[in-house]
Symmetry: C2
Subunit: 414 residues, 2 copies
């Protein structure tokens, strides 16, 4: 059956897909250094081929540099200000409670995936973590399942049943390299079996939280990713890949986590009533202890916002403090979900709430994390040559959430 | 004659050099993408060898991300707050005039180079541009000359005469790839002839201002750099290389420069009397038109600093505005040389003074420049394996101006 090339428009942008399978990949946590290290060992021959034939460059992600935020941006093509997902967690000031944002009820924009399906593409979404599935498959006709719960997928609810036998893949452990490799292997199998021709494959960053770029397990992981890229290329796919965020070590010289507990600090300095939200918090804390480089602060009644902001800005390790207006303008945040102050920390520093809120004993090894400015820049990788217009676009301020645009609209693929 | 391994201490740090030639290189304007692109073409085999045997990672430069600032940091090992050089230019509020800062009279710290010479090393400095020579050779016994004026070097003043015949190299044109390659070739010749065993080689960024990473002239340039790295490795050198700043395209979709003229904007909004200093300004304007992503603003008497700051912060393309206290704390600036407000612009935006202050017709091609936050992160490349302590240090917030420390103190080189 031929592949639909019908144009569709979503969130103000028109996409005209090629007659080839389109595969967009979110290489979760892939700081550029991971690619550099593995490529220096000649262990990513397919990525090398891709970048020589196509494009490799750096793009700016959405802030906070977290997974849900950037996956939401990638599948909608817009900023968090528009799609509304600004973390895994936020404090709902109306309901006066802390709320998980992993549900599509919080998504305020349509997705490219749903629109592609409506335009006749066979859309398939595979994500490592179940938490992302609901947002990514919002209003979408097609296949959507997670590696984490692959063996629970049902035809009626996931567009596919019996995943393990249909795709000949075992459901992996979530804290493993296989959780990500499963996603890519499932993508290959879906194309091979004619079950998908417009794919979004979203990996998980357990490996990057755990290993530095030169560590052998990381090199082997990226080598295995490269193997699947080769299989996708062999199937004639037009591939675009980017990352949701980078990754940096956040530890002191002795290897212990380098944490500023912001709620504790503010309480000591200004008194009670501060509420600090760590939007990285999710049910999967083993690899980062809910510590990232970005928190939101809700101020108690009557406290002087400027005094708090100025004091925070003067603390070593704090790199940015923004009030609501500036966070909306500069960090592209949704005004109603971010609290009073947004605080970002340095390349090697994470910000937390209070010591009691973070179980550091759950960390496997040294702390590596993300969320701030130093994890904002990520790679953009395109398998096919860019058109002149998109080469020019790449010389501006391209974003990681332009990846569908670059892949679908920006390539010479015939 | 044997090479001195006597320790020396400068600016609070002790250096214990190896008995091998030490070569530290500033790859001016080398955003990591330049290395990625050339390595993907297999045209940097020696750098590849170096990074497999030694180290490749990203480090944070000094701000503003300009050449003089970072060269001064590299040779002193300290921030601009300590060494005092915060641009090519500043407004001296006592003398009430705009002053060039290319002279060592403005340098407030001792250099590692002078200290190494005092400890018995044969120190040699080769810089592409003459403007840097005075600062880099401050109080130093040894050889110091520029590619630009190589044929004018004198034994009495430069520690070497007849450079062209002694080193068998022709003085290059300053706006050329050769201006940088000359520096590396001179380094090779100095070691070969026993004239230097502790070298600082500082290139120029004309090529990066002019070409994007994938452009053939840039690939050929980095390939030629790699050839000289190979010659230095063959001579047994311990090599550390970093960059002073990255490089980004600063242009609109139509290829025209993407400029905010800050003095013009402030005058229109708040009236006369503003003075905007572009610290990138120097006698070499052909490649950037004195436009970078960082300016200093001196306010007229009586104007409300907060009002100006808030207004600037709200303008599209402006990413950071800091008052003096914050610029000192956060950007590590010398308090007496920076004016009232520091303004940084986006990845694709430069800030200028007024249209009359910038000759855009002098630009060879599209505008590529630096100076801001998006040119802050640069590569660190070390030829030999890092010790455990320096591998750990690299997992923190290492700086480009730690390059002598990493190279001299941080390597296993026997």
């Amino acid at each position: 059956m031929s592949i639909s090339t019908r144009s569709f428009t979503v969130n103000g942008k028109t996409y005209t897909p090629p007659a080839s399978p389109v595969v967009v990949i979110c290489l979760d946590g892939s700081a550029d250094e991971y690619l550099d290290a593995t490529m220096a060992h000649d262990r990513m021959p397919n990525l090398k081929k891709m970048t020589l034939a196509g494009y490799r460059g750096m793009v700016r992600g959405a802030l906070p540099s977290f997974t849900n935020v950037n996956n939401s941006s990638i599948v909608t093509g817009v900023t968090p200000a528009v799609h509304g997902i600004c973390g895994n967690f936020f404090y709902d000031t109306n309901r006066k409670e802390e709320v998980m944002m992993n549900s599509s009820e919080y998504l305020r924009a349509e997705t490219i995936l749903a629109a592609a399906a409506n335009a006749g593409r066979k859309v398939a979404v595979v994500t490592a973590k179940e938490k992302l599935r609901d947002i990514l498959s919002h209003k979408m006709t097609g296949i959507a399942f997670s590696a984490e719960k692959a063996n629970q997928a049902q035809e009626a609810t996931h567009g596919i049943g019996n995943v393990e036998t249909t795709l000949n893949l075992k459901t992996p452990a979530i804290y493993s390299a296989d959780a990500s490799l499963f996603v890519l292997r499932a993508g290959v199998a879906l194309i091979e079996q004619g079950l998908g021709d417009f794919l979004y494959l979203s990996l998980t960053d357990y490996m990057q939280h755990t290993y530095a770029p030169e560590d052998e397990p990381s090199l082997a992981f990226y080598e295995a990713i490269d193997h699947e890229l080769g299989r996708l290329l062999a199937l004639g796919a037009v591939i675009g890949a980017t990352a949701d965020h980078g990754m940096n070590a956040k530890q002191k010289a002795d290897g212990s986590p380098n944490v500023l507990f912001i709620e504790t600090m503010l309480t000591e300095q200004f008194g009670n009533g501060f509420r600090v939200i760590c939007p990285i918090t999710d049910p999967y804390v083993k690899h980062h202890g809910a510590l990232g480089s970005y928190v939101a602060v809700h101020l108690p009644e009557g406290v002087d916002e400027t005094a708090v902001s100025d004091w925070l800005q003067g603390q070593p390790g704090i790199t940015e403090v923004h009030n609501k207006a500036r966070a909306v303008h500069l960090l592209e945040q949704p005004e109603d979900r971010i609290g009073d102050l947004i605080v970002l920390s340095a390349r090697d520093v994470v910000v937390g709430r209070t010591p009691a809120h973070h179980d550091l004993s759950a960390l496997d090894s040294g702390l590596r994390s993300h969320g701030g400015r130093y994890e904002e820049m990520v790679p953009l990788l395109i398998s096919h040559p860019l058109t002149a217009a998109y080469r020019s676009k790449a010389l501006g301020d391209p974003r990681n959430f332009d990846v569908f645009d670059f892949t679908v609209n920006g390539t010479h693929h015939n």
